[in-house]
């Protein structure tokens, strides 16, 4: 597998699994408007995953569906940050914001890539991600606006920080450290990243649910 497909799959898996995790709030988000907005963001992430899988599939001679659903959980390349199941709003917002901050750095480098297909797709994704970032940033401001919110956000960010560091490679990681510290107005814990390639126990349960329908049908079924 080329370095390119490796990268495509890593990002696609991030977007698919995060989209899936975020969709777990559908129907139970704190209020109706947020429910609609967060579900819509989750759908966008899955749309990005599909576009990335298609690029990888063209190179590998397979299909987006096969890449998304026919691999074993241990074959996924997503960062452990997106695998965590944290159905608690402060942690959900903290992860959302950490991921979007890291993803923006990653997209910036992809948009500057010499590979026109990759750079073009990154630019398309970025135009939607801009609204995800607006959503994340407004929540961060909101939480920082009260004592309780501030406490809960900081606690959640600290808990997730080693995972957030694992989204980016060594070259891009320092930029995430810089942006997060600047935004929060404080230093973040000096910890080792939880790297891509190891998986959280929660991924297996998510994989079961995510691939259930596809596995229930005979192979080659048309959807």
């Amino acid at each position: 597998m080329s370095e390119r497909t490796d990268l495509l799959l890593a990002i696609a898996d991030d977007e698919l699994v995060l989209g899936w995790r975020n969709s777990e709030w559908t129907g139970i988000a704190p209020f109706l408007e947020e429910d609609v907005a967060f579900s819509s963001i989750a759908q966008n992430e899955i749309g990005h995953a599909r576009a990335l899988y298609e690029l990888a599939a063209a190179e590998l001679g397979t299909t987006a569906d096969e890449l998304a659903f026919d691999r074993k959980p241990e074959e996924y390349r997503c960062a452990p940050l997106v695998e965590l199941r944290r159905l608690e709003w402060a942690r959900t917002i903290a992860r959302h914001w950490l991921y979007e901050t890291a993803d923006e750095i990653r997209l910036e480098t992809l948009m500057a890539s010499a590979d026109p297909a990759l750079a073009g797709l990154a630019a398309k994704m970025d135009r939607e991600e801009a609204y995800h970032r607006m959503h994340a940033e407004m929540w961060v401001d909101r939480l920082l606006g009260t004592e309780e919110g501030r406490m809960r956000l900081h606690e959640a960010v600290d808990e997730l920080w080693p995972y957030a560091l694992g989204v980016l490679d060594d070259a891009l990681r320092p930029e995430l450290v810089r942006r997060a510290a600047e935004r929060l107005g404080r230093d973040l814990p000096d910890v080792e990243p939880v790297p891509r390639g190891v998986h959280e126990a929660e991924l297996a349960d998510l994989w079961e649910e995510m691939t259930m329908v596809r596995r229930s049908a005979p192979s080659g079924a048309q959807w």
Binding site: F31, E33, E34, V36, A37, S40, M134, M138, R142
Partner: protein, 98 residues
């Protein structure tokens, strides 16, 4: 806060009331309105108006029943019938069977 949302379906068309969003402030409202009224490409623009900014009037006294000022003031039906009777075309007029 409640915001009244007006939606423009195509450029040049009038904005029409689409519904509301409830949000803690304008910034949240903009994000929520975008997702609720725009994510399916059903709008080219949205107006968000805080409900308290809307002035409503709802009293329109008409004590002397000045029908001639209303757009539907005169019933044209009766006058048309009269005219047709005079012209002898009542039976052939559209809707004559009624």
């Amino acid at each position: 806060m409640i915001f009244e949302v007006f939606r423009q379906e195509r450029k040049g068309q009038p904005f029409q009331h689409a519904g509301t969003v409830t949000a803690p402030d304008e910034r949240f409202a903009e994000i929520y309105a975008r997702e609720q009224y725009g994510r399916r490409q059903e709008s080219v623009a949205l107006w968000l108006v805080p409900r308290e900014a809307v002035s409503q009037i709802s009293e329109f006294p008409d004590e002397f029943e000045m029908k001639y000022r209303r757009v539907d003031g005169y019933s044209i039906k009766a006058r048309l019938r009269e005219a047709r009777e005079k012209a002898g075309t009542l039976e052939t007029a559209p809707g004559a069977e009624e």
